[in-house]
């Protein structure tokens, strides 16, 4: 399993649309994806779970990926965060 702390840098935070992109991306991999913020830990492939993290701009998400394609999954997820979920701001 690999884990990494990734900052939420887009202005609106991990809101519904960003969450949808994250869940869609996470679901493409066979590895299990878990997200943690504070005491909350959720399934990264569940839209409700991700939205319930309530992660606004400035929050840090601990991403944990476990499975055969974990390296690739982590790299893609990190890139999505870095690209601000493709939002133009």
């Amino acid at each position: 399993m690999i884990r990494k702390d990734i900052p939420v840098i887009n202005r609106l935070g991990l809101h519904a649309r960003a969450a949808a992109k994250l869940v869609t991306l996470a679901s493409e991999f066979s590895s299990a994806v878990q997200l943690e913020r504070g005491k909350k830990r959720v399934n990264g492939k569940s839209i409700m779970g991700v939205m319930m993290l309530a992660a606004g701009q400035g929050a840090t998400i601990r991403v944990m990926v476990d499975g055969p394609d974990e390296q690739e999954a982590m790299a893609s997820i990190e890139e999505l965060f870095r690209q601000r979920f493709g939002e133009d701001e």
Binding site: K21, V23, S46, I47, M48, G58, A59, E87
Partner: protein, 580 residues
């Protein structure tokens, strides 16, 4: 004059049409006990309804026009993902089994659980996301309950040139309405941050939300004018009013065309007063959007993005590289770098560990206060900014000043670093200008003292208004009180502008008010000559400036500054905006 109902402006533009009342009755869900042998059948019924809801949403997604912004598909995808999420696909099945209840009841119970979680969230944006759950659940319920509970979009078929009046509409319904060429939307509920609002805005549908009792006051097929800019609905307009709004509609269309044409023109009023239009940016990647609108420079570069969410602050070299990149890209145009404005939820983890997090962070240890308490971080940033100043036209801006003592401390630190850089033979701009943000009301009232010691001032309206009126803008319970036109706010702004004038230094404004075209003429008349806003709004601001005469604005400004009631000020500002 007809009946006027005021709501919250969400999407600008004017719609003229006929009222189309959308019945969207609350679904009555009651609980029945399902006999054990029929439980499996009940579960199947739930699954079928879920499948239908998914197919409907996919069909809606397929109908999204190609010219619509790309993220619109995202709204629908979000709802589709919700319909595939275990909390909606599996949890209700468990409830049906455990409680031996009907599917409707199970869905409703689960919905309430989910909505409660969202309601407890601190972030107001995320708190409004419970609307998404309600919309999705509503769709499943209507499929479960069969015909007669059909969705609003189907009723609105053929809504061309109609203004839809509804309790609330879902993003999916907005899409269907858009497809059918709806002229405008008015809802009783909903806030400016809801998906529905964002979607309506990006599709350019004139929309007003939060219009109280709108369904009771407006009758079917009644002639309506929707003024998206004012957030107002006018029922039974008189012919003269209709004529006025038709004119404004044409004007709006023409204006959009004109904006493209003024890109390369300088911002100059009709009576020859030059205005600087500056951009607010956060990262070097924002530079292309500045070039696209030909801004005169950067009025606010927020450096927080470099600092947040890492264990250690960036070192001098890393900061220097980023600042230099921006300064070089601007090729001699002013680049105003704001020193760290940490605090609220943007907290440097290292600082956070050392200091107790206060309950009222907006008034706590943030911005310059935080920097002076952590001089090591601050000094590193000062050095990086100084070094970047060798590559262009850099202005250093200190946020949240409230006392001269703070300013003196900053000056001492800057002088010390200049001395050290000279010793190390590192280049910097010897005459680098240092300015302060005026965002604490006390600083605005003492603006003369600050103006005498600084090279420029910049008014941060977001915080200034929030502090002056004691209103948290993100708190939905009180944000109706947040008003840039409050007489006290205008006085604070005026004091700051006059202080700059007296001291002979430039005063800019980098808060949201500077990027709001409703206030451009007001600010221009009050003496503001530098506006800093998101690049996307600058052309519109320029169009207003280039069609104004400062000489004509001044007599209205005197009346505005004397007015005591906010509604009088609003009326005067509107008069100002309609001057030719």
């Amino acid at each position: 004059m007809g009946l006027v109902i005021n709501g919250i402006s969400v999407s600008r533009g004017i719609a003229i049409g006929k009222a189309h009342l959308l019945r969207h009755d609350e679904l009555e869900v009651s609980r029945h006990t399902v006999p054990r042998p029929l439980i499996d059948e009940e579960i199947t019924r739930f699954k079928v309804a879920l499948g239908k809801a998914r197919r409907q949403l996919r069909a809606i997604r397929d109908r999204i026009p190609h010219h619509a912004p790309a993220d619109i598909v995202g709204f629908i995808d979000t709802h589709l993902l919700m319909l595939e999420d275990a909390v909606l696909t599996e949890a209700p099945i468990e409830i049906i089994r455990e409680q031996q209840c009907n599917a409707e009841w199970a869905v409703k119970t689960q919905c309430e659980t989910l909505v409660n979680v969202f309601e407890e969230m601190n972030d107001p944006y995320l708190r409004t996301r419970k609307d998404d759950i309600n919309h999705v659940v509503d769709r499943v319920l209507r499929n479960l309950m069969g015909p007669g509970s059909g969705e609003a979009g189907q009723q609105s078929r053929g809504a061309k040139d109609r203004i839809v009046i509804a309790e609330d509409v879902s993003p999916a319904e907005v899409l269907i309405m858009h497809h059918e060429g709806v002229a405008g939307i008015v809802t009783r509920y909903g806030g400016p941050n809801s998906h529905t609002a964002i979607l309506a805005r990006s599709l350019g549908i004139p929309t007003v939300v939060g219009a109280p009792h709108v369904q009771e006051y407006i009758r079917k097929h009644e002639a309506l004018v929707l003024d998206g800019r004012q957030g107002a609905v006018l029922a039974l307009p008189m012919p003269v009013e209709l004529g006025y709004y038709r004119g404004r509609q044409r004007e709006e269309k023409r204006r959009l065309q004109e904006l493209k044409g003024i890109r390369d023109l300088p911002a100059r009023t009709l009576d020859g007063v030059d205005v600087q239009l500056l951009a607010n940016v956060e990262i070097p990647e924002d530079i292309p959007s500045i070039k696209k609108v030909c801004a005169d420079g950067i009025g606010l570069y927020r450096t927080e993005m470099l600092f947040i969410n890492r264990d250690r602050p960036p070192d001098e070299e890393e900061q220097f590289q980023v600042y230099r990149k921006i300064v070089r890209a601007m090729k001699g145009a002013p680049v105003t770098i704001r020193t760290l404005d940490l605090g609220a939820d943007k907290t440097l983890q290292e600082v956070q560990r050392d200091h107790v997090v206060m309950t009222n962070p907006a008034m706590g240890l943030r911005a310059i206060r935080c920097c002076l308490k952590e001089p090591e971080i601050f000094v590193t940033q000062i050095r990086a900014i100084l070094r970047a100043s060798a590559y262009g036209n850099v202005r250093m801006m200190i946020p949240m000043l409230s006392t001269l003592q703070e300013l003196r401390q900053v000056e001492n630190l800057v002088e010390e670093e200049k001395k050290r850089l000279r010793g190390q033979r590192k280049a910097f701009d010897e005459s680098i200008r240092i300015g302060g943000m005026i965002e604490v009301p006390a600083a605005a009232m003492a603006a003369n003292a600050f103006a005498r010691r600084l090279d420029f001032l910049s008014i941060g309206t977001n915080d200034l208004i929030q502090y002056a009126l004691a209103v948290d803008r993100l708190d939905e319970e009180v944000n109706y009180l947040y008003d840039p036109l409050h007489p006290a706010v205008l006085k604070l702004i005026r004091m700051t502008i006059m202080a700059g004038k007296k001291a002979g230094i430039p005063v800019s404004m980098c808060g949201e008010m500077a990027g709001d075209p409703r206030y451009t003429r007001l600010l221009l008349g009050m003496g503001l000559r530098e506006f800093s806003a998101y690049p996307a709004t600058l052309l519109e601001i320029k169009a207003i400036i280039n069609s104004s005469r400062v000489g004509m604005l001044e007599k209205y400004i005197r009346r505005i500054l004397r007015a005591e009631r906010q509604e009088d000020i609003l009326t005067l500002v509107e008069t100002l905006n309609s001057l030719h």
